[in-house]
């Protein structure tokens, strides 16, 4: 379907990790008893007034800076009106025409690995809504249970330009955005817990056309995989619409994870008339250059800069640097280990190989690893000293990962110490030669491959513990 070009923009909501809500002192703690973390302000009771949490403004400025936006000198809040039971005031406090930051970008890689800029239209602050659980059926009486714990939890809405051209690029954008936000520490960005949510605006047009096609908005994508699949489905659906001469309707569609399709949602046109006006209960925010400077100083090294530094400083391949800086914690782990054991590429191989594989297998994260960077460094030193072979090191590492024990202790307990004394190895060599006269004769007749077989037998008889270099050398001497 190369005739058409997809045009994708994403709207992302991120829950900020503050202790209290955006406009009141209620706790933002996730879960707990329904309607427990609430107060008169977030319940929207008459006579209450919101007061802005300073930390929310600081987090918003930080994200604005991290996304290369210009931060507003002056901004304000507005009321967005709609009736829905998840909103006790019947309006949401949000930002309309003067968002806290706009006009930024982030960089992702396209299919060929070339950098592509995705524009960030705006970043604004708003309050989250409550949680509804729909129950009952049409046959009985359908009803909804409302929990306002989440009402008033601070959100940032980050809107991209329609700059993405494939489902893969959309996913790469969300992935990069998540990584940047996690680096700043303002949110944990857990999609499965709802602290990172994503809607997609999608249209297709004839390749080469400059005008945009009619777009649809896709909601309800709860994972990175779902995003990629939903966007792909919607692109295909729209192309088929056009190819069969049907019209694309501008509408909101929900991703159905089980069926793997997007479905039109029933929504009235009027629902989109939000009647924004300035929030009279909150005063404007003026952001001074010195405030911006102060937050710029708090900004940590961000993933792109760190990736470039890893390449320069540690001389590791770009691919390694990309993987290792994929999360702040992983990068920290790597750097701590290299500090103790400075062979950067070896550390990279182990972190990207065994460590990530085991974390993946156990569905855990780097922060939960029982092997500390120091312990990994010590194990690598044991390989260098010849105490364990590189091959057995994987077994040692697996045990360290399971138990959290030091490498040395694992080696001792499991009797995995490498055999490097010539007398013991020679004894095994004699046995193997005696029991495999055929391969011995082959090798002497010039068939080099037979040596590998004999080495294999020796390693097998020593349960992999013989020093392979030494085995090779001694065996060759013996057969000369």
């Amino acid at each position: 379907m190369n005739k058409y070009e997809p045009v994708i923009g994403l709207e992302v909501h991120v829950e900020l990790q503050t202790a209290s809500k955006i406009f009141c002192h209620s706790s933002t703690t996730f879960g707990g008893d329904p309607n427990h973390h609430v107060c008169p302000v977030c319940l929207g009771l008459p006579g209450t007034l919101p007061v802005l949490n300073r930390k929310v403004v600081e987090a918003a400025i930080m994200i604005g800076l991290a996304l290369n936006c210009s931060v507003a000198r002056f901004c304000k809040f507005d009321r967005k009106h709609y009736f829905y039971p998840d909103l006790p005031k019947n309006y949401q406090i949000s930002q309309y025409d003067l968002p806290i930051a706009d006009n930024g970008y982030l960089e992702v890689q396209d299919e060929d690995g070339n950098p592509v800029r995705v524009g960030i239209t705006r970043v604004h602050m708003e309050e989250d809504a409550g949680k509804l659980v729909h129950q009952g059926t049409d046959a009985t009486t359908p009803y909804s249970l409302v929990d306002y714990n989440r009402t008033g939890v601070p959100l940032l809405e980050i809107v991209s330009e329609p700059d993405m051209r494939s489902p893969r690029e959309a996913r790469a954008y969300l992935d990069k955005l998540k990584t940047i936000i996690q680096y700043t520490g303002v949110s944990d960005c857990r999609m499965e817990e709802g602290s990172l949510r994503c809607d997609a605006n999608i249209s297709v047009r004839l390749r080469g056309s400059q005008t945009l096609g009619t777009k649809t908005e896709i909601k309800n994508m709860n994972s990175f995989r779902a995003l990629q699949k939903a966007v792909q489905f919607e692109i295909n659906r729209q192309i088929e619409c056009l190819e069969t001469g049907r019209r694309i309707v501008q509408e909101t569609r929900a991703w159905d994870e089980i069926e793997g399709v997007t479905l039109a949602t029933r929504s009235k046109e009027e629902a989109h008339d939000y009647r924004y006006f300035p929030e009279p209960d909150l005063v404007p925010i003026v952001i001074s250059p010195s405030w911006i400077e102060e937050i710029t100083r708090q900004l940590p090294e961000l993933p792109d800069a760190r990736c470039r530094r890893f390449i320069d400083e540690y001389r590791i391949p770009a691919y390694d640097a990309g993987v290792l800086t994929g999360s702040r914690e992983l990068g920290d782990y790597y750097e701590e280990c290299v500090k103790i054991y400075p062979q950067a590429k070896t550390v990279s191989n182990w972190v990207m190989g065994e460590l990530l594989r085991l974390l993946n297998d156990t569905n855990s994260e780097i922060g939960e690893s029982r092997v500390t960077p120091r312990q990994l460094a010590e194990m690598l030193t044991l390989i260098d000293k010849g105490t364990i072979s590189g091959k057995l090191a994987k077994e040692v590492f697996g045990e360290m990962f399971r138990t959290g024990k030091d490498a040395e202790m694992v080696v001792k307990e499991k009797g995995l110490e490498q055999i490097s004394d010539e007398v013991s190895i020679n004894a095994v060599i004699e046995q193997v030669i005696a029991s495999h006269p055929g391969p011995v004769a082959d090798y002497r007749a010039g068939k080099d491959r037979a040596l590998g077989f004999l080495v294999g037998q020796i390693m097998k008889d020593t349960r992999g513990k013989a020093n392979p270099g030494l085995v090779n050398e001694l065996l060759k001497n013996r057969l000369r």
């Binding site: 209290s20 002192h25 309607n35 973390h37 909804s144 249970l145 009027e270 925010i285």
Partner: protein, 93 residues
């Protein structure tokens, strides 16, 4: 003159159920109010910055500190219906 469609639309947005007679009456009244307010359009506001707030205040913040929550019985005291500690309302999709 305000159209009847606009009055219908505004009534729907405000979830007001109006009789024909009321719609008739409000169409006239709203038109009068709007044309009165429209007189402001005659002023040249080219040099006036839009007002974001009536008070000359800015940057009023609170610290990020958790305070006391409302006891559940108070929270749910005026609930039209409840199930456990949840508000229970008619389902709206």
């Amino acid at each position: 003159m305000l159209s009847r469609e606009v009055v219908d639309h505004v009534a729907l947005l405000a979830r007001l159920e109006l009789s024909e007679e009321e719609k008739e009456r409000y169409t006239t009244q709203l038109s009068n109010i709007l044309s009165y307010a429209e007189r402001l359009q005659e002023l040249d506001t080219g040099d006036v910055t839009p007002m974001a707030h009536v008070l000359p205040l800015q940057n009023v913040f609170r610290h990020d500190v958790v305070g006391e929550h409302l006891p559940s019985e108070d929270t749910l005291a005026n609930a039209p219906d409840r199930q456990g500690n949840n508000f229970k309302v008619p389902r709206i999709i």
